[in-house]
């Protein structure tokens, strides 16, 4: 492989060698072809023309009598003229084009031949259509032969004889020129005016132009200007018309004409006369400058020329001439404007340098630096373009650079000086100028200078000046950059050359030298210069920082890039200034604050916080220090670091803090708000589903454990634990709050919440303990808390404890609702558990102020101990204030009143008088009505009792009517009538009694309320005594621990309506033998939506706790809801009450299969078949 490649390479080299050997043999030297000499070309043309002349002559000879003979002669004459022209040109070339005045005999001979030929035509064919052309050609030849008088005559003949000839204008023009050349301006004007009078003439513009020159020569510049303008306009119009025509012609012609071909119809018109080469528009524009400079305002010159110029070239040419003109007449305003335009538009030739110089001179002379921002760049551009030209040698370049650097610097610095003077005197000062210099212009001038001359030895000063000007023009960002550049330039070590340059004697004029002699400049050494520069650098850095700060303060609307740059610049400059300079305290403070603020504004709060805090500590009680304090807090607030804000705020608020008292009072609420916010956030996180929230909150509480914030945190944690159902945390945190902050006004709330939490979990003893503890702490809540505790105790058969709680609550409660509630609780408890005497003894002190609940109970108790009159008084008070009394109190009062009436009836012994009969009947009616009123009350117990007692009252009434002794003085007939009526009424009363009993029994069965009244009614007995009696609960068998109920309790902590959990806890209590607690849990279960089984269980628990009525009601509802176990349980209880008939009713048709918890006695009960079933 490798060998193969080598072979190939060797072969290739061989081929190349052969070719290289052959190459010289193939190459031939190319002949050098030189351009033909002009003379030779002309000679060739002469030969050709001569041939043409000979041929034309031959044709003429052969065309005698032909109609086209005039044309042939015309052609011959023209050929002769052409040959003459070639001869002249040959001679001209031979003379090296040195002169146009030549003696060439052939020319004269040929031209004379041509003239004679033209004359021959005119003579032979006087009416030929070529006559005007021939005359014009003759005049042309005559002018070239110097026969001007003849020429004049010929042309005048042409004008006169052929007024419509297209050569008339040309003729007039030549005539005008003839007189113009001889300074006969009036005649010349006459001929030119003749041309411009013509409607349409291509020479109109030229005529105006000539006419303008006539006026120039007669010193009528206004007229000249007018005609120059007309010349331009007319020529422009003629050119436009010409173009239109040519376009139209081109469209008509099917042939595509050559680019330079002249259309046929104008061929004659444009192919001669020699004026085609005059660009009237350009020449007129250029030439009018003379008069314009004299007559019109210089400030409008540029606009004027621009308006009239049709091409850039003519515009520039006119400007150049105008500039020269203004320079000549020393008009600086015009010079400056025109020179600027020239520098803008004119080509880059050396003349631009002159224009630049001219501009500089004009501006300096005018002291008008209002456009210096444009002038300096223009001047420098002219210089730079020349510098780029290769033909310029190095020494010239150096000179040019030096000269123009000076010019640009001069303009920039002079404008700056003027600016400073204006700044000192103010705009309304004595220095009034029409065009005041602006800082922006000066800044632009300096910028241009620095951009074009980056290596200038004066760069340092120029950059410094620029920075100052930029500050003046409020371009702070750029000013900052330039100050930093100045600082950078000043950081460079001083060179010997610089020292020498500084110490060199100034190249001044004699006048200046004389002036300087009085105060010689002291020499400076290198070290001093270096020190000066170091000081200047520090100043520059400070200025830069200030400029950036201004930029950030004043230009908020700018883009992000600018702001970021300003901030970065500020930090760089400020940092360097602090590092290098030895700033005084105020400057250092300002700079430090500005740097810190830049971080703050930027959103770099990490840095901002540290730097601002440092300022607050280093410069306390200063404006910046105070602001820094607020900004630190705000920074933390913005980044939502409340913890940091609290920490720093507390640090600022401590006694040793450098922060002023005024500021402390300002930030104190901020810190407090932050504390609350932080706490809220943590509490929110802790109470939500986010893991870790509680841990953070507790940690926070630990950190601030000795403060109010710590207390609030603990409370929040407690609330969060309560909301989250974390009971262990609730108890633990609650205890911590109580122990750590015993004086907190939230302690009672915490303890009561713990009590309620325990109640939710059915931890009754714990709940009572916490509630009583909370009551001992909080006087305001004491009554309510004790009532709650008492209620729980009462339900758990702790009558004494409940009574104690109620009595304490009564003492603690103030007047009003609280007291009434406590009194009601106490009265109810005593009524249920005590004897009537005990009730009277305990409730009598509570009767003042009168409370319907107390009065109604007290009345009934008094009634039961036989004090009817006192009882009646209490009942009366209740019924009179019925609106304020509860339905239960009203029911009691109505029932009590009825009982009093019944007692009256029972004890009434009517005398044997007819009036007594009526009175008895009346009393019976009143008693019955009283019981009916009581039966209508919504209280089930007293309503049912009223019905039962109504039956009894009717019976008593019947007995009384039947046994009444009638007066003895009645007739037999009267006696019989009364006896029958009384018997009927007694019968009616007995029937009413039966009805009342039936209704009472129906109600009792429906509501399963088998109390004293209900039981009697169901048995069909009328109660002879007041049937309302209360059975106390049996003593409680307290459960110490519940098996498998803890998780259910946890669930209840989170959701108190969790049915499953409620059932589990209820059963657990029941299984543990604590029927009282189970009764409460199961009651809650039923309330939360429990079903038949739950009701049955409630019945069981109620039965076991001694609440027989409750058990009956629960079993009854459970039975109605379909519980088979409840049927048997209900039967057992009813049987115990002696309601065997009702038991049979219940068991009839009950299902044989039992599903649910049974009482022990119920297990042995067998069901009965339905009636009709076997």
């Amino acid at each position: 492989m490798h060998r193969l490649k080598v072979k190939k390479v060797v072969r290739l080299i061989g081929v190349l060698l052969v070719l290289s050997v052959m190459q010289p043999a193939c190459v031939q030297k190319k002949p050098v072809v030189r351009d033909q000499l002009t003379v030779e070309k002309l000679r060739l043309r002469i030969t050709k023309v001569r041939n043409a002349v000979a041929e034309t002559r031959a044709v003429i000879a052969a065309s005698r009598g032909a109609s086209h003979l005039p044309e042939l002669y015309m052609r011959l004459a023209e050929l002769l003229s052409e040959e003459a022209r070639y001869h002249y040109m040959v001679a001209y070339e031979r003379e090296q084009r040195s002169t146009k005045s030549l003696h060439v005999p052939q020319v004269r001979f040929l031209k004379e031949q041509a003239i004679s030929t033209y004359n021959l035509i005119l003579k032979k064919y006087p009416s030929t259509h070529l006559a005007d052309r021939i005359l014009f050609n003759i005049s042309h030849e005559q002018r070239e032969l110097g026969l001007f008088d003849k020429m004049k005559d010929t042309l005048q003949r042409l004008v006169k004889d052929y007024p419509n000839s297209s050569y008339k204008a040309e003729a007039l023009l030549v005539l005008g020129d003839f007189y113009f050349d001889r300074t006969k301006f009036a005649k010349a004007e006459h001929y030119y005016v003749e041309i411009v009078k013509q409607k349409r003439s291509p020479l109109k513009g030229l005529a105006y132009y000539k006419l303008a020159w006539v006026y120039v020569n007669i010193s009528d510049c206004q007229g000249a200007l007018r005609n120059f303008e007309k010349a331009i306009i007319a020529d422009r119009k003629a050119f436009t018309d010409f173009k239109k025509k040519r376009r139209a012609q081109t469209r008509k012609s099917k042939e595509v004409q050559g680019e330079f071909a002249i259309p046929q119809f104008d061929k004659g018109k444009y192919s001669f006369a020699g004026h085609k080469s005059v660009n009237v528009q350009r020449e007129a524009l250029v030439d009018l400058t003379y008069c314009y400079a004299q007559e019109r305002k210089p400030e409008k010159a540029v606009a004027y020329l621009k308006r009239l110029a049709s091409t850039r070239e003519s515009y520039v040419a006119a400007l150049a001439k105008m500039a020269n003109r203004y320079a000549l007449i020393e008009q600086p305003k015009g010079t400056a404007q025109v020179a600027r335009e020239l520098l803008r538009l004119a080509p880059d030739d050396e003349e631009r340098l002159d224009d630049a110089r001219m501009l500089h001179n004009a501006v300096v002379r005018m002291k008008d630096y209002s456009a210096v921002g444009e002038d300096v760049p223009l001047i420098l551009r002219a210089m730079r373009r020349q510098l780029l030209k290769p033909k310029l040698d190095e020494s010239a370049k150096v000179l040019l650079l030096k000269e123009f650097e000076l010019l640009a610097r001069d303009l920039a610095t002079k404008s700056h000086q003027l600016l400073m003077r204006r700044g000192k005197r103010g705009f309304g000062g004595t220095q009034w100028t029409k065009n005041p210099v602006s800082a922006d212009q000066t800044a632009t001038a300096y910028t241009a200078y620095l951009n074009v001359l980056p290596e200038s030895p004066n760069r340092l000063e120029m950059v410094g000046n620029l920075a100052d000007v930029l500050m003046d023009s409020k371009r702070y960002l750029e000013a900052g950059h330039r100050y930093r550049e100045t600082a950078f330039l000043l950081s460079k070590p001083v060179t010997d050359a610089e020292v020498e340059a500084l110490n060199a004697p100034p190249k001044d004029t004699e006048k200046k030298k004389r002036r300087r002699k009085t105060k010689p400049k002291p020499k400076i050494d290198k070290k001093t210069l270096q020190q000066q520069r170091t000081r200047a650098r520090v100043d520059a850095l400070y200025n830069a920082a200030v400029a950036y700060q201004h930029s950030l303060e004043s230009e908020h609307a700018r883009g992000h890039m600018e702001r970021a740059t300003a901030r970065a610049g500020m930090r760089m400059a400020g940092g360097q200034y602090l590092e290098e300079g030895k700033p005084d305290k105020e400057k250092a403070r300002n700079i430090k604050f500005a740097i810190a603020q830049s971080y703050y504004d930027e959103g770099s709060y990490l840095e901002a916080i540290d730097l601002l805090t440092a300022i607050a500590y280093e410069y306390p009680k200063s404006q910046q220090g105070d602001a820094a304090v607020h900004m630190v807090l705000d920074s933390y607030s913005v980044i939502n670091d409340m913890s940091g804000l609290i920490n720093v705020g507390r640090r600022f608020l401590t006694d040793g803090s450098p922060v002023a008292g005024r500021i402390k009072s300002q930030i104190s609420p901020i810190v407090q708000a932050a504390e609350q916010r932080r706490l809220d956030e943590l509490s929110l996180a802790a109470s939500g589903d986010q893991a870790g929230g509680m841990a953070v909150l507790l940690s926070f509480a630990d950190r601030y454990q000795d403060s109010e914030l710590g207390e609030r945190a603990m409370l929040s944690a407690f609330v969060a634990a309560r909301a989250g159902g974390d009971t262990e945390q609730v108890y633990a945190l609650g205890e911590q709050v109580v122990n750590r902050f015993p004086r907190s006004n939230q302690v009672s709330g915490v303890v009561s919440t713990m009590g309620r939490t325990a109640a939710t979990r059915f931890e009754f003893d714990r709940s009572i303990q916490y509630l009583e503890r909370a009551a001992s702490i909080s006087p305001d809540e004491k009554a309510t808390l004790l009532l709650t505790a008492g209620e729980i105790r009462e339900q758990l058969a702790d009558t004494r404890g409940a009574e104690k709680n109620y009595r304490q609550a009564l003492r603690a409660a103030g007047p009003g609702t609280g007291r009434a509630e406590a009194a009601t609780h106490l009265a109810d408890l005593i009524e249920r558990t005590g004897t009537p005497k005990e009730v009277v003894r305990n409730l009598t002190p509570l009767a003042d102020p009168p409370d319907p609940e107390i009065l109604s109970r007290l009345g009934l108790a008094l009634l039961r101990v036989g004090k009817q009159e006192e009882a009646e008084e209490y009942f009366r008070q209740v019924t009179e204030g019925a609106a304020a009394a509860s339905s239960a109190a009203q029911a009691r009062a109505s029932y009590g009143m009825a009982e009093i009436m019944l007692h009256i009836l029972e004890t009434y012994e009517p005398p044997p008088e007819i009036d007594a009969v009526e009175e008895l009947i009346g009393i019976i009616e009143v008693v019955l009505q009283s019981y009916l009123a009581a039966a209508r009350q919504p209280d089930a117990t007293y309503s049912q009792a009223a019905l039962a007692r109504l039956a009894r009252a009717a019976e008593v009434g019947a007995e009384k009517l039947e046994t009444i002794v009638l007066p003895a003085d009645l007739t037999e007939e009267e006696r019989d009538l009364i006896t029958v009526a009384l018997a009927n009424r007694a019968n009616q009363l007995r029937a009413d009694s039966g009805e009342a009993l039936k209704e009472c029994a129906r109600r009792a069965k429906a509501s399963y309320l088998f109390d004293g009244a209900g039981k009697a009614c169901v048995k069909g007995e009328t109660p002879r005594q007041d049937p309302v009696q209360y059975r106390p609960l049996s003593p409680r068998n307290k459960a110490t621990a519940l098996a498998h109920a803890e998780s259910a309790r946890e669930r209840l902590s989170r959701n108190p309506d969790d049915l499953d959990a409620l059932r589990i806890v209820g059963k657990a209590f029941l299984d543990a033998g604590d029927a009282h607690a189970a009764r409460l849990v199961l009651d809650r279960t039923v309330e939360a939506g429990g079903g038949a089984d739950d009701l049955n269980l409630l019945g069981v628990a109620s039965y076991k706790s001694g609440d027989v009525l409750g058990a009956l009601a629960a079993f009854g509802r459970a039975k109605d809801a379909g519980s088979s176990a409840a049927v048997r349980n209900l039967a057992v209880v009813c049987k115990e009450l002696g309601l065997s008939g009702f038991v049979q009713e219940i068991l009839e048709g009950a299902p044989a299969k039992v599903d649910g918890v049974l009482l022990e006695k119920a297990k042995s009960i067998s069901v009965l078949p339905k009636r009709g079933e076997k």
Binding site: R571, L578, D610, Y617, V696
Partner: protein, 215 residues
């Protein structure tokens, strides 16, 4: 085929059939059971809107947690850079004074160093905590998917280990945040020391300019 072989075959067949019969659609058995829960699409037509919203919320939680991790990483990077910058600026700068100011300067610099280091440790602790939170959010998403699948009869999973994992992660998250909060206390304590030392340095005439320099 011997009788023994036939019996073996029959037994295997019967067990196989039972297994197929008893395995509802979506049951994941063996290694994957209870651990790997496929993604439930939010557009799954078998799921009601409520379930989809539930899943979407869980997915959002993951996205938010991931975003917090990103933020915490940035904060850590920034804290590290700031610490280095502080070290560079203050190195030797405050120890150039004379006498008491020199000593105070050195102490203040040391305190600044500790402060910066403590902040880095805090940022690291917070990063750990948010990473744990991310893991928890992912576990919760898995749990939500598994529970939703089970609730709407899309699949059956062993929920218990998933729930246990969530609980474990919850505790870990709580612990991580607790650590971060403890570190925050350290940072704040360090900050107190820093400014105390700074005040002392300033009061003794020390120059603090280096703090404002740009590194």
């Amino acid at each position: 085929m011997t009788l023994f072989r036939f019996l073996i075959f029959a037994i295997v067949l019967v067990f196989g059939l039972i297994a197929v019969q008893c395995t509802p659609t979506g049951v994941y058995t063996g290694k994957e059971r209870g651990t790997k829960v496929p993604i439930l699409s939010l557009r799954d037509p078998r799921l009601p809107e409520e379930a989809r919203r539930w899943l979407a919320d869980a997915e959002d939680e993951v996205a938010i947690a991931q975003s917090r991790v990103d933020d915490a990483e940035k904060v850590l990077t920034k804290q590290k850079a700031y610490g280095e910058s502080l070290d560079e600026r203050l190195k030797d700068a405050w120890a150039t004074g004379k006498g008491r100011a020199r000593k105070s300067g050195e102490k203040a610099r040391e305190e600044f160093g500790r402060y910066a280091a403590a902040r880095v440790v805090l940022a690291q602790a917070e990063l750990r905590a948010v990473k744990k939170s991310l893991a928890l959010a992912r576990a919760r998403l898995t749990q939500a998917r598994a529970e939703t699948a089970a609730r709407y009869d899309v699949g059956i999973y062993d929920i218990e280990p998933i729930a246990r994992k969530v609980e474990v992660l919850k505790n870990e998250v709580a612990e991580a945040w607790h650590e971060a909060e403890d570190q925050r206390a350290v940072v704040e304590k360090t900050a107190d020391n820093v400014w105390k030392a700074f005040s002392a340095y300033v009061n003794k005439g020390g120059l603090t300019n280096a703090l404002w320099e740009t590194p």
